[in-house]
């Protein structure tokens, strides 16, 4: 009977996709005046032992009574003592998250979304271009590559922020600047006392650095306006859309392709993304 066959089946044992797992905050790091990083771990030992994710995937953090918001997991799957999320204060949930202390309970739905094509990137040179909180999604991929260093070619990082006080990940930055197996360039928007690195907007500094597109993939994340000009700069340098990867931050709710919130035409950022190549973005409806 075709009509019965069409009635969807309900599998009582199927997981409830909206039910977060309970996690405990292990450590809180004040990164900048409005960004804090949280390191956490699932309470359920079995679930924690089984938990795995790929660089670029997302998590929904829940503060019960306030709400749920989307953040990228910015620790690397190669370092499994904790999951790290960096949260910029933007509104209700993010402000409440900033009030968390070690030991506090939090809800987590993860991993969600696709990931960076870290396997396909083997053997390539990488140029990372991050602005502000946009460093968060790139940190996970960068750490993963540094932990599998021989799999990848030259690595360049261009990390920009408004002022010296707006950079996150102080410890990482020191390491990245010191390392001989990568090149790290920091830039701020306008001159500041004691600043030893570059001054200038990210797209301009990128143009000066002139990375070769030869066997290279550029990964860029940041505010929409920065992305726009960075894409232009990359194309001028000879990067084709297939060589450029970015992540999108459409507003999300369900995170599993049901609620319809995060659509760009028929694509959903929560399942088809958040990672897209520029070539993919160009094939989608023009509604970024």
């Amino acid at each position: 009977m075709p009509d019965t066959a069409r009635r969807p089946v309900f599998e009582p044992s199927a997981p409830n996709p909206y039910l977060p797992q309970v996690a405990t905050v292990l450590e809180v790091i004040q990164e900048t005046h409005n960004i804090k990083s949280f390191r956490l771990r699932l309470d359920d030992e079995q679930a924690w032992a089984k938990f795995s994710f790929e660089p670029g995937q997302l998590g929904q953090l829940s503060l019960f009574g306030v709400g749920e918001s989307t953040f990228v997991i910015n620790s690397s799957p190669t370092r499994k003592d904790y999951l790290q999320f960096s949260v910029m204060r933007a509104g209700e949930v993010t402000s409440a998250l900033h009030g968390l202390l070690p030991g506090d309970k939090i809800g987590l739905r993860a991993p969600l979304g696709n990931s960076f094509p870290y396997k396909e990137l083997k053997g390539k040179n990488l140029v990372f271009i991050g602005g502000g909180i946009g460093m968060a999604p790139m940190r996970t991929l960068l750490l993963y590559m540094l932990d599998n260093r021989t799999d990848y070619g030259d690595i360049t990082l261009l990390y920009g922020a408004r002022s010296p006080q707006d950079f996150s990940y102080a410890e990482d930055r020191e390491d990245w600047l010191k390392r001989k197996d990568m090149r790290t360039v920091l830039t701020i928007d306008s001159p500041a006392e004691g600043w030893e690195h570059r001054v200038g907007l990210i797209p301009n500094v990128l143009t000066e650095l002139k990375p070769s597109p030869e066997n290279t993939v550029a990964v860029t994340c940041g505010p929409p306006i920065m992305i726009r000009f960075t894409l232009q700069a990359l194309e001028k340098l000879g990067f084709v859309p297939e060589q450029i990867i970015t992540t999108l931050e459409k507003r999300m709710k369900c995170g599993i392709g049901i609620c319809g919130r995060c659509n760009i035409g028929e694509k959903y950022v929560c399942v088809d993304g958040p990672v897209f190549t520029y070539a993919q973005l160009k094939s989608m409806v023009n509604e970024l």
């Binding site: 089946v9 030991g103 399942v271």
Partner: protein, 401 residues
């Protein structure tokens, strides 16, 4: 099992509904509030269904409630860790089986649009709340006796007597209703001493009722190519601005639509206890897509109307490789305070994509053709399960559904 159609005299309808109410939460379309109030809504009341007026809202709330708890949370002082609190999460108990009596066939087809969405896409988990309710809901539609001027189910593969997605089709005849089972669940609910076996005359009466209803439909339209036409118009801001000019962004269209399914998730808490709710939302609201950076990809209402219509006729059929996400119920036309007409927008979009077909840019473009000669439903005789009332009208869109 008795596969014959059944008949219930009008005077016995409430008794049968009451009998069903012992096993199901029975929903019927009923006047909201006062007798003279205009709105007809679905209420969990097993008596006196309002069958003379098309329900103002769709039946989606039976399976996808306006607002429902996803989970409850409770923070308790933790005896082991002084100062810390433990967190307990509970999933609310599922409600029992539902039965809807008296929904129009287009509302039942609406669930067929929601099904693939809630079953989970691209390997993602399905929505357990929706799926549980859906798998336990019996749908008894009543064939429409006449179409409203806003109805256009026949543009999108439906008909006033469509059986798609139904468990039972009820057709009003003489002194009662002919009831035809279409699924095993439908046969089960028709297994009642209150129901009489339907005879040949009653089958024939139903058949002429379907025929008569088909004749009340307005002109049909060929929706072939709507997907491409809308995609081609995506960057035509002037077109969408003109079409959306009268929109008030009130969201009524999405609220009443049987196939609009987007939702918000919010928390409500008092002290250490609270609930996480899932509630209907609307892509016609400007804050729907507001991002943290301040950027909003659908800031203006033209972009939002484009998304609503694009979703129904382009994105959804593309993503799910199936029917359009509109069943032509006409509620978004009938209840829109500024009478924005989705048919007109579609017709214009199609006309622009088919310039050769005739006179473009008129109010009645060449794409609208007179209603095809109504094809008549086969009488449901010995094997009503196989009989397909409504199967008579299958537009091109249904062929690749």
């Amino acid at each position: 099992m008795d596969m014959q159609g059944k008949f219930i005299p009008r005077a016995q309808l409430d008794d049968w509904l009451a009998e069903l109410a012992a096993r199901f939460r029975v929903w019927t379309p009923r006047r909201a509030g006062q007798e003279d109030s205009g709105a007809v809504v679905y209420l969990p009341e097993a008596r006196q269904p309002e069958l003379n007026r098309k329900p103002t809202e769709s039946a989606k709330r039976v399976i996808f409630p306006r607002s429902e708890p996803l989970l409850r949370f409770l923070r308790k002082p933790d005896p082991d860790q002084t100062g810390q609190k433990s967190l307990e999460l509970q999933v609310p108990d599922a409600d029992g089986p539902n039965l809807v009596f008296g929904l129009p066939p287009c509302d039942a087809r609406g669930f067929l649009v929601l099904d693939p969405v809630y079953a989970g896409v691209k390997g993602q988990a399905g929505d357990s709340y929706y799926l549980r309710r859906r798998s336990q809901t019996v749908l008894i539609a009543r064939a429409c006796s006449r179409a409203l001027t806003t109805c256009f189910c026949h543009w999108v593969g439906g008909s006033p007597s469509s059986t798609e997605g139904l468990d039972v089709l009820a057709t009003e005849i003489q002194e009662g209703f002919l009831l035809q089972p279409l699924t095993p669940q439908g046969e089960e609910v028709l297994d009642s001493k209150l129901l009489l076996s339907a005879g040949k005359e009653q089958m024939e009466a139903a058949q002429s009722a379907w025929q008569a209803a088909e004749k009340t439909l307005g002109p049909g339209a060929d929706m072939q190519g709507a997907q491409e036409a809308l995609r081609a118009l995506f960057d035509n801001a002037a077109f969408w601005q003109a079409e959306a000019a009268s929109c008030l962004s009130c969201g009524v269209c999405t609220h009443l639509c049987p196939t609009c399914y987007c939702f918000n998730i919010t928390d409500e808490a008092v002290g250490e206890k609270g609930v996480r709710l899932r509630s209907w939302d609307a892509c016609m609201f400007s804050l729907y897509t507001q991002e943290a950076s301040g950027h909003n990809p659908r800031q203006d209402k033209a972009a939002r109307l484009k998304n609503r219509i694009g979703h129904k006729f382009s994105y959804y059929p593309e993503l799910y490789q199936t029917r359009n996400a509109c069943v032509g119920c006409g509620r978004c036309i009938k209840s829109c305070p500024s009478r924005l007409d989705i048919r007109a927008v579609l017709t214009k979009a199609l006309a622009l994509s088919r310039p050769a077909a005739g006179k473009p840019e008129t109010t009645a473009p060449a794409t609208v053709r007179p209603a095809a000669k109504p094809k008549v439903n086969k009488p449901a005789t010995s094997k009503p399960v196989a009989a397909k009332p409504g199967a008579a009208k299958r537009g091109k869109e249904a062929s690749h559904a």
